[in-house]
Symmetry: C2
Subunit: 203 residues, 2 copies
Amino acid sequence: MPKKVDRQKRRTQIADALMRVAAEQGLEAVSLRHVAAEAGVSAGMVQHYFRTKDEMMTFALDVVRERNQIRVTDAVTHLGTAPSPRDLLQTIIGTLLPLDEVTRADGRVTLAFLAYTAVRPPASAALREETEQMVGFIAGLLPCPDPENAAAGLLALMEGLGVYLLGGQYTPEQARGILDTHLDRLFAAAPEHTGGIVSARPA
Amino acid sequence: MPKKVDRQKRRTQIADALMRVAAEQGLEAVSLRHVAAEAGVSAGMVQHYFRTKDEMMTFALDVVRERNQIRVTDAVTHLGTAPSPRDLLQTIIGTLLPLDEVTRADGRVTLAFLAYTAVRPPASAALREETEQMVGFIAGLLPCPDPENAAAGLLALMEGLGVYLLGGQYTPEQARGILDTHLDRLFAAAPEHTGGIVSARPA
DNA sequence: TCAATGGCAATACAGTCGTATCGCATCGGG
DNA sequence: CCCGATGCGATACGACTGTATTGCCATTGA
């Protein structure tokens, strides 16, 4: 066997180029040749590492998800030991929101893939699982009654903030303020234990 | 002058076909020929009514926005006179959420356009204005301190619920429950006047 | 050293894209 | 009546798409 190259690494490089193109010009500008040019390689090479465009797309989608996961765990570990649930949530969500230009680029890619998977149901299975995990994790941090409900709501709020941040409807300061207020509400509902004084109807 | 046709009507028909294509196969499947076929007209005719594809896209985008506006005002007027703010909000948001197959199709189109405008900043100006209006309107219905903040949060929550509904992460029942709980929190904060018992920090 | 195999580039191909242009009806005002 | 503007279909064109195929080069095991 001749030369051995790190196949996975090359594929990731190409996926990175794809994400750059998608972030700047949208997913419909993603073609083999564009991605190859952005990656600084030949079109034939892209074809060599991904037999089909769909394979490349799926791989890139996985990379995006993986990156987000890593971002979250990184943020959590950097937070030190035993942070308060409130700080933990604020950090995690702050990490996931497109608040600076770097995360905005990622956000645009994620949004593009969101629209992409919306018309390709099979591709969204992993997304569903990821959300489910996230809801479970966040629910464990919330002192509200029906923490699953509150967790899902918090996640939805985050997603919506992300969308509006990308669209320029909200400023980063606004988004942070909204998130703060919401967390205040969630944690004020039951400061000590899981039994609230508000919300007579649990669901 | 010969034959006079209702230009606006024809354009709307074509835009409808575009939205059907976008809802089923995504925005990248939208081409003059596809749209023409879906509309049951010749490709030349589409070209006759929209000199460029971008013009067609922009028009369709406006139609989508307009439809949503109409849907809201319709729902509001059907609600009778002097509804409670809470019912009003529930109805409006319930109308905007992709809860059944019809509104899901619209949601997919909206999501596609969201990603579309995310990489075309000039096209999102109208979106910004629409959101601003909406925030102002909703803020007037909320009894919280800092109603603008709460309104923006509610809107973001709605958007996020929409995204997760489309992705299949949340079921319609879940989404309704989350919305309910959130409204409970917002209205429980100050049952009578604009001064809450929870949330010590207004912003 | 040499055959062979994997890495990669180049090209070919059929199809679709957006746009421009032509051609022909059809109907209204002079 | 008929001239010309308008509605609309058909076709042409160059650019670009994803995929398949071909062939060279470098490296490596025998």
